[in-house]
Amino acid sequence: MNFYPEFEVVRNDSRCIRCRVCERQCANEVHWYDEDGKVMLSDESKCVNCQRCVTLCPTRALKIVKSDCRLRENANYSDQTIKEIYRQAETGGVLLSSMGNPNPLPVYWDRILINASQVTNPPIDPLREPMETRVFLGKKPDHITRNADGSLDTKLAPQLSLSMPVMFSAMSYGSISYNAHASLARAASALGIYYNTGEGGLHEDFYKYGKNTIVQVASGRFGVHKDYLEAGAAIEIKMGQGAKPGIGGHLPGTKAVGDVSKTRMIPEGSDAISPAPHHDIYSIEDLRQLVFSLKEATDYRLPVIVKVAAVHNIAAIASGIARSGADIIAIDGFRGGTGAAPTRIRDNVGIPIELALAAVDKRLRDEGIRNNVSIICGGSVRSAADVVKAIALGADACYIATAACLAMGCHLCRSCHTGKCNWGIATQRPDLVKRLNPDIGSQRLINLMDAWRHEIKELMGGMGINSIEALRGNRLMLRGVGLTEKELEILGISHAGE
């Protein structure tokens, strides 16, 4: 069935100089030059509104607008719902989407406000006083021990040291490009934080960034071998992902080419679909075994992170993980991004990270085991304010991926699964990949993190807090606006005005 396209390409012909940049830049082949009429034409049905042409058009001749040709308004059957039904009636297929859930579900970060000091204690000026953002992730001992001479025995379970409580979340080589990985790896090294390989293995060129790398082990075990495990500073077991709880990773065959297939250790062009469960983990005691086999394989040198999607029973699940020997739990909320996920799952499964984080932190404290593990919060952390709110709710650090992609140029067109990312990120086509220059990509990531660190410091200073440790779990610094009693209870915060 043919629809009027979702977007319209509006070209101001009096500005257009026929340079054909848009034609060359668009991997979706929207634009072409008509020799006869000497005009630029477009097939808007292929447009995903990635804004590449708009950005690069030298004369600002282009804009992409939402088409106003819609089916008859219906609050129940939206335009999109109806078109999805047509599409499925045509193909019999599962709908695929990418990036995070775009639907207007509550964003609790936006309903939480942060405190500042007035009169009774002083705000601290981050420009004039030291303001500390360093955190250590890992298991903390219940009891200190002393050496024979009475000095402290300073041996600790392995810890990750972060210059600021933000890291780049898992995005596999394959789902994103070589240059995107290079940008992330270099930025993480320069910043003193970590990036995460995702489940596609680690390209041999990036072993040198191992000190700032978290290597992931997912249910497909793609690219997992001993050298890989030993290459990083921590190992993450991916049990689930916020964008698609309950199913495994999915790399479309079009992206499994060249080095990607080599790094993943799979044949070229084959869809890399990870199993939904780890087939050696059907229960919590099995998880314990995997945690310890990974530790054993790496001489107990590396902390093990267990990443789970935020689902209904997340507090109990986290409590189980905290007792499994894992050093760190990463919780991924339902708005988290993805390179490809079934639309229905992305849009309907899982719970908001804010509620999941608050519930987990509380449960672990109620059980007295919060010190057994650190908590990483991910799944749509969009700004320094979100980071501060997450830390105050109880997170030790945050994972960001969508924001990192945006820094590298992503325009959130949500078509990563097509493999034709015009910004050189979610693609393996060499002509597209080279559009992302790792020098620039890494610099932009560093800039973003520098900016966030300054903002975090300013927010902390305002609260009269000069070290991030004193913010962690400090829920008194948060107030809710427009939230129900129940929501406030779960978040463990008071309403504004209280």
Binding site: T120, N121, F136, P141, Q159, G368, I465, G473, M477
Partner: protein, 364 residues
């Protein structure tokens, strides 16, 4: 309705003062009361109190519980509970001097107790832990009893009022202590409640504190994992629990504790010797949630000494004076000059640098 102490968090400014004899000489409470007078304006009449060490030599083997009761029935209930765990050695009124400045007094008792060995064996805990648990239980339950001091050979005296009046009210000139600490409170809003005055005590630890800590909820939520209940929602309470947790339960030294709650900045740690770097990094890594930020100056009293500590930015004033075997500490120099008029040696310790004073071994 104005919320009660413990229902809301109430910021307050304050005055603190302390004196200690390193020789273990015992001094009556006159001087410490006087020291609070020049700092009158740092309090607002909504709380004052004192802690005194070495005051019960003849009962030094017993825990001295100082308790407020709202009424007779609360008292009966509380005493019945105590008898389940302790032998009651002595149960008496704390003598007071009636005065117009101090009103609405509860029943104030002093009970010397000794833990029952059978109970300790049964619960498999040591006697200090038993005292802590029973006191926490009494204080957490809203039955109208409040144990405000429970150490050996020491005691706290506190009330709603200005500190100098509170000192007179409790007739502190009749007690002899080798170490005194004092506190005047300036809560921003609260109906006066006697239990809310400071010092805040647990076992032989007493804390007087001036400041408003910004790390409060991070500290509270951490320490509550270990069986403490912050019912008063005051900084002093949570700092006392932190001190108990780090000193008694983790076995840290006072210095080590100071480097947890007023941890040196990472930039400072970088410049230390390898051994120190390792130590400070370890402490900050293991106890990050016990870092206390925001302005504070605290004086921690304990059996045989005291420790004074400022927040690491020194956002609250605190001065120390030394003369012969005596050490004086106060929010303002004027207070020290009242206790020791011709004192020469007065200085202001740096933020985060603990001042630890111990009484000579065997002298108390």
């Amino acid at each position: 309705m104005i919320p009660l102490e413990g229902h809301v968090r109430i910021p307050s400014g304050c005055a603190v003062s302390a004196m200690i004899s390193r020789d273990g000489k015992r001094m009556n409470g006159e001087s410490i009361i006087q020291s609070m007078i020049p700092m009158h304006d740092r309090s607002n009449g909504l709380g004052g109190g004192f802690a005194a060490y070495g005051i019960y030599p003849e009962y030094k083997d017993f825990y001295a519980l100082h308790i407020f009761f709202n009424n007779r029935s609360a008292q009966a209930e509380c005493m019945a509970l105590l008898k389940e765990y302790f032998e009651i050695v002595q149960d008496e009124h704390i003598k007071v001097r009636k005065m117009p400045q101090i009103t609405d007094e509860p029943i104030i008792r002093r009970v010397f107790v000794s833990p029952m060995q059978s109970v300790l064996r049964h619960l498999q805990i040591d006697e200090k832990e038993l005292v802590v648990r029973v006191v926490n239980r009494i204080n957490a339950e809203p039955v109208g009893s409040y144990v405000f001091s429970c150490g050996k050979n020491m005691g706290a005296f506190k009330a709603v009022g200005f500190p100098e009046d509170v000192g007179r009210y409790y007739r502190l000139e009749e007690y002899e202590a080798y170490c005194w600490t004092a506190h005047g409170r300036y809560p921003t809003n609260t109906p006066g409640w006697w239990g809310g005055a400071h010092p805040f005590c647990l076992l032989d630890y007493s804390i007087v504190h001036n400041g408003e800590i910004s790390s409060y909820d991070a500290n509270r939520r951490f320490i509550e994992m270990y069986g403490y209940k912050c019912t008063l929602q005051t900084d002093t309470e949570v700092i006392t629990y932190i001190a108990d947790y780090l000193l008694r339960r983790q076995g840290l030294s006072l210095d080590e504790m100071a480097s947890v709650i007023a941890a040196p900045f990472w930039s400072t740690i970088e410049g230390k010797s390898e051994a120190d770097k390792e130590k400070y990094t370890y402490l900050r890594t293991v106890f990050p949630s016990l870092l206390v930020t925001g302005p504070f100056s605290i004086i921690l009293g304990f059996d045989g000494g005291l420790m004074a500590l400022n927040d690491r930015l020194k956002l609250r004033s605190m001065v120390v004076g030394e003369q012969n075997d005596m050490v004086y500490i106060a929010s303002e120099e004027a207070a020290i000059r009242v206790m020791a008029p011709d004192i020469q040696n007065i200085w202001s310790p740096a933020g985060g640098e603990p001042v630890i004073v111990r009484v000579k071994e065997g002298a108390f």
